[in-house]
Each structure stands twice: as structure tokens, then as C-alpha cells.
């Protein structure tokens, strides 16, 4: 039974594009660009910067293909590259601090209300679709306000569905530390999105 090229394992694609097969690399990009972009996008919060980092990530995958030793999954290696680029970007930010929930937002828009005010509960009488859209914006804001160490663990688990072992490898932390950070991230989100608890319970 032969696999289609789209089903080829990551390691096989890596080996092929290392030999000059750009089609294999295109398959790898197609496979990972969506989850990786969302991870980067939620990490740096700026779409343009996220796009640059995503491009640079794949470029480094090409340049450093020889450095991959097979000690981890290809996806773990690629996310490590992306995460390091995000960390580098964060270090370049002059005023970079985690805003508390009652501090003014550091977003560039005109909305300088505190986070608890911006993540307002569903308006009375609003329909479910509208509440759902409000929740998406609220969750996005709440995730942005997570501490960086908790946010990266949360994103890798929530968006990429990586195991805690892989997350620990990418973030270079013990596995239980990754689990603890995930727990604190979930508790923060629940606290920030308490107004939507009823809505969520109704959905489940």
C-alpha cells in the first residue's frame, strides 16, 4: 500500500526537500502553515509580524535541515524554531509587559478600557450567534493578556494539539511545568470569561 505524497510523514518530506525536492517542502509548508501561523499570530499579536516570522520559520527549516537529527518530531523542531523567533521578537519590544486584567490595554486601538470592561458579558437579549462572536473576541483578548510562558503552552496545546511532552521540549521546560502552566492559563481564562460561562454550559 503506497501513500500519497500528502500522507508522507514529516521526516520523509524533510529528507526529500533536503535533497532539493521543493515539492516535498511545499507539502510540508501546506501541512503546518495554518497551525503554525495561529501559534505565531497569538504569540506576537501583530498579523504582519506573524507573517514575517512564519516566512522566516520555513526559511530556517530549509537552511537548517542538516541540523535535524531525528531526536524529536519534525513538528516539534519546527515549532521550536517558530517559538524562538517569537521570543526574539518579544525581546525587541521596548515596552513589553503583561497587563493585568484591570490595567489599560496595550493594544494600539483607541479602546483603552480595562480588560474586564472590554471582555464584557453578553448583552441581555442578544442572540446566540452574536454572543458567540463576542466570546471569540473576548477569548482572543484574554489569551493575549496571558503571561507569555502560560500563553505559549496554552497555544501549543489548544491550537496545535501537541502533547505535553512535546510542549516541554519546545519550551525547554519539564513536562509537569508545562502542565502547571496550562492549568494556570485555563484558570485565568475562566476568571476573565466568567460572563460567558452560562453560554458555554448551554453549548455543551
Amino acid at each position: 500500500m503506497t501513500r500519497s505524497p500528502a500522507e508522507a510523514p514529516d521526516e520523509s518530506l524533510l529528507e526529500r526537500f533536503a535533497g532539493g525536492d521543493d515539492e516535498a517542502f511545499a507539502l510540508l509548508v501546506e501541512r503546518y502553515q495554518r497551525p503554525m501561523y495561529n501559534f505565531v499570530r497569538r504569540s506576537v499579536q501583530d498579523p504582519a509580524v506573524a507573517e514575517d516570522i512564519l516566512q522566516e520559520t520555513f526559511l530556517r527549516v530549509v537552511q537548517r535541515a542538516d541540523e535535524f537529527r531525528g531526536q524529536a518530531k519534525v513538528s516539534t523542531w519546527m515549532y521550536t524554531i517558530a517559538r524562538n523567533l517569537c521570543v526574539d521578537h518579544a525581546r525587541k519590544m521596548v515596552h513589553r509587559r503583561h497587563a493585568s486584567l484591570d490595567a489599560p490595554s496595550r493594544r494600539g486601538d483607541d479602546d483603552d478600557r480595562a480588560l474586564v470592561d472590554r471582555i464584557a458579558g453578553p448583552a441581555p437579549g442578544a442572540d446566540r450567534a452574536a454572543i458567540g462572536e463576542q466570546l471569540k473576541r473576548a477569548v482572543t483578548l484574554a489569551v493575549e493578556e496571558l503571561p507569555e510562558d502560560q500563553r505559549e503552552v496554552f497555544l501549543l496545546r489548544q491550537l496545535e494539539h501537541l502533547s505535553f511532552q512535546e510542549i516541554a521540549q519546545i519550551c525547554d521546560i519539564p513536562e509537569n511545568t508545562a502542565k502547571s502552566r496550562m492549568r494556570y492559563a485555563l484558570e485565568r481564562l475562566r476568571a476573565a470569561l466568567g460572563e460567558y460561562e452560562d453560554y458555554v454550559r448551554e453549548l455543551s
Partner: protein
């Protein structure tokens, strides 16, 4: 299952990462643990809220640049391969959407440089240049500093000569039956005739140095401090040129004065007598004024040079060479001082010559063949500067040197006769500042 472990498993449980077998064990723990149930409810609600996080579509990447990078990398890794670097650098493919963005680093920058390029960059780097410069400086220093030390003026030798003299002179000084200092015999006891001929060269060189020093007194005196006086400071005279410096003075032929001619004749006679074992010949009746510099010595002597090792005597000569060289170094310094003293004396600077003679007597020790002659010349200088008392003491000491004993006795008698005829002469004050007579005598009485 412990509570702490259950809390960690709950995180996996609410995010769907818990294996089935572990999930069963966790649910068993939850059934009996109220706190864990509360935590599970909280985390589960947080996870459901987090699930509302929207997923955005990815941007259109610059796939042409990425594909080109893949080909360029393959071409760089295998230059002989089918995909050449030119192909890798081909124009990018149309991106289609037109929304692709060209990113910072160019494709050229993405190509890894080859080993040659990396090596060239490393070699031309500033750190390599500094390391090379440092190594060069060290190499030059380590090469030339020892050479410079070796060719330094022999002040050190001159200073060290009195210390080396007892070891070098005492065991080897042998007074022959005819009273001539025969230390040369101990240095080259049985040198064959060819060896003695070969030794004439270094001896002749030394004598040339002495002659040159005698003939160019002003240059030597003026060289260290620019002082030409009867009695330069001790440090100035100590710093006067040593043999190494004097050796570079060319032996310019200078017409010999009648006085020098007489001296040369006497010296040649004396050395001829010494070489044949009759040491007292040639000195009889010579007045003090005729005792000019004997720097014109040209007779071969074994005391300054080691014999070249002949095959039968190679080992013995090698053993003696070290001793000979040590003695030669010590005596070279004394010889230079004597040449300087004679030079000063011949130029009429008796005060400075006195100091130089005293230095020579201190440096040369009792074994130097010129010691007696130097004492006579010193006495002459002392008499010229009016220090007749010290001159008399010097002559009395010279009587103890067999080679000049008779002449010293005659000079004493002549000096006494002169004093009787002109008793006021001894009281004539010297115009030049001078050391006390006691100090002058103590300088070489201590030997």
C-alpha cells in the same frame, strides 16, 4: 493516586490528552475527592471557553523564495548535481495571489558559504591579524634579545672579572723558574706548534684593539659622558668602552712616535724573551719615561685563546676550552682597561690614567702578565701628578713582581735621588682634583 498527581492529570484530562487507562484511574480518584472534582469543573469550563479561540487562515507565503532556497541549498551541498546554483537563482515563480511578501534576507544570503570562503573570511579577520602580529613580535623578541645581550658591551664582564679571577687565575697561575707569569702554560700546556700559530689570530686581534685604544684616546674617553678630564667620575670610567666596543675600532695605522718605537722594541724583546723562557731580558735600564704603553704587543700568546682541538687532544682541549674562555672573558675586560689606561697616559691625562690603572689592577688580579708593567706605569703617572708618596709605595709593591722587580728597584732609587736633588718637588700640589692617596692605595691593596 495522590492528589497532586491527580491535579496534573486533570489538566491532561480536560484538554483531551489523557490516555484511556489513566483516565479510568483518574475518574476513580475523582469519585472520592471533592477538591479534585471542583478543580476539574473549573478547568473544564476554562477549556470550553478557550475552545472559542478563533483560528485564522494563514497568509500567503512567498513560496517562490522558499522553493528557490530549497534548490539553492541543494546546489550548494552538491555543486556537481543536476540542479545548479544558476537554476537555484532562477527567477521566482509567480506567487499567484500577488499578496506574497518578500522577506528580509535575500536568497543569496541564504546560501551557505563554502569552506574556502569561510576560511578566507577567517584568515582575513581582525582576530587572526592580531594573533599574527603578536606572534611576530614575540618571535622577533625571542630571537634578537639573546643576540643583543650577547653583543652588549662587556661592562658585565669587566665587573665580573674580579669575582671570576680567583677561580680562573689562582689554580692556573704558575710562576716559572725564571719568574715570568706562566699562566698561559696552564691554559695551553702542551699545545702543538700549529695550534700556537692558530692562537696568534685572536691574540693579534686583541692587541689590535689595545693598539687602537692607545692611538685613539680621545674617542674612547669622550664616548660615554663627553668628559675628558684627568679624573672622570668612577661611574664614567667604569662605563668606558669594553673590548666588544673597542674591537670595532679599526686599527688605523698611525705613525709611531719615537717613544712608542722604543716601547715597541722593548716589548718585543721582552715577549721574545718570555717565549723562550728568559723573562728578564729586555727590561734592564729602561727609564720610567720609556715605559710607554705596551699595547703594541704582537707576540703570540696562549693566554687569550683556547687551542683548537687537534684529534689526539680533542677531549682534553674541549675540557680546557671552557676554562680558557672564562679566563679570556675576565682578562679581556682587564686588558681593555689596561689599554684605556695606557691610552690616557700616553695622551698626558695622568689623573684619569691613574684611575684606569687602579681598575686594571683590581680586575686583573695577581696572575695577569701585565700586572708588573702596569704598576710601573701607574707609579709613573702618580709621579707626574705629584703623588710621589703613593708612587713610591706602588714601586715598592712592584718589587714583589718578579718580572719588573729589578726595574722597580731602579725606579725607586732614581726617585729617591731626584727627591734628594729637589726636595720641594714632592710637595708640588697637583692642579687636578684627585682622590686621597690612601683611597688610591686601598683600591688595589685589597687584592
Amino acid at each position: 493516586m495522590e492528589h497532586t498527581q491527580a491535579e496534573l492529570l486533570l489538566v491532561e484530562h480536560v484538554t483531551g490528552a489523557l490516555p484511556e487507562a489513566t483516565r479510568v484511574a483518574l475518574e476513580a480518584h475523582l469519585a472520592g475527592c471533592e477538591a479534585c472534582r471542583a478543580l476539574e469543573a473549573s478547568l473544564s469550563l476554562g477549556a470550553k471557553l478557550a475552545a472559542a479561540l478563533p483560528v485564522e487562515p494563514p497568509p500567503k507565503l512567498d513560496m517562490a523564495a522558499l522553493r528557490a532556497a530549497v534548490r539553492a541549498r541543494a546546489a550548494a551541498a552538491d555543486p556537481e548535481g543536476p540542479s545548479s546554483s544558476a537554476a537555484a537563482m532562477a527567477a521566482p515563480e509567480p506567487s499567484g495571489g500577488g499578496a506574497s511578501k518578500t522577506h528580509g534576507p535575500s536568497i543569496d544570503a541564504n546560501v551557505r558559504p563554502g569552506f574556502g570562503e569561510v576560511f578566507r573570511r577567517w584568515v582575513t579577520g581582525p582576530q587572526v591579524a592580531m594573533a599574527t602580529l603578536t606572534s611576530l613580535v614575540l618571535a622577533i623578541g625571542l630571537t634578537y634579545i639573546p643576540l643583543a645581550n650577547r653583543s652588549m658591551p662587556a661592562d658585565g664582564d669587566t665587573v665580573a672579572a674580579p669575582e671570576a679571577e680567583p677561580a680562573a687565575g689562582a689554580p692556573h697561575v704558575v710562576v716559572s723558574e725564571d719568574g715570568i707569569d706562566a699562566d698561559r702554560g696552564s691554559i695551553a700546556p702542551a699545545a702543538p706548534a700549529p695550534a700556537q700559530q692558530a692562537q696568534a689570530a685572536p691574540q693579534a686581534r686583541l692587541e689590535e684593539v689595545e693598539l687602537a685604544a692607545a692611538e685613539e684616546p680621545q674617542r674612547e674617553i669622550a664616548s660615554p659622558h663627553g668628559i675628558i678630564g684627568d679624573e672622570p667620575p668612577a661611574e664614567a670610567t667604569n662605563a668606558l668602552p669594553a673590548p666588544a666596543v673597542a674591537a670595532i675600532v679599526p686599527p688605523a695605522p698611525v705613525p709611531a712616535t719615537p717613544r712608542a718605537d722604543a716601547l715597541d722594541a722593548e716589548s718585543n724583546d721582552r715577549r721574545a724573551a718570555q717565549s723562550t723562557g728568559s723573562g728578564r731580558a729586555g727590561l734592564g735600564g729602561a727609564p720610567m719615561d720609556a715605559l710607554a704603553s705596551s699595547g703594541g704587543e704582537s707576540a703570540p700568546s696562549a693566554r687569550y685563546a683556547a687551542p683548537p682541538p687537534s684529534p689526539p687532544q680533542a677531549q682534553a682541549a674541549t675540557a680546557q676550552t671552557a676554562t680558557t674562555q672564562a679566563q679570556t672573558r675576565a682578562q679581556d675586560g682587564a686588558g681593555a682597561t689596561l689599554a684605556q689606561a695606557r691610552s690616557l697616559r700616553s695622551s698626558g691625562q695622568c689623573g684619569a690614567a691613574t684611575n684606569a690603572y687602579q681598575r686594571f689592577l683590581n680586575e686583573a688580579g695577581t696572575g695577569h702578565p701585565q700586572r708588573g708593567q702596569a704598576m710601573l706605569e701607574l707609579a709613573d703617572c702618580l709621579q707626574r701628578t705629584g703623588r710621589t708618596g703613593v708612587a713610591r709605595q706602588t714601586l715598592e709593591q712592584a718589587q714583589g713582581v718578579p718580572s719588573v722587580s729589578a726595574q722597580a728597584r731602579r725606579e725607586l732609587e732614581r726617585s729617591a735621588a731626584q727627591e734628594r736633588q729637589a726636595p720641594s718637588r714632592s710637595a708640588r700640589p697637583s692642579a687636578a682634583p684627585r682622590q686621597s692617596e690612601d683611597a688610591v692605595m686601598d683600591a688595589y691593596r685589597s687584592e
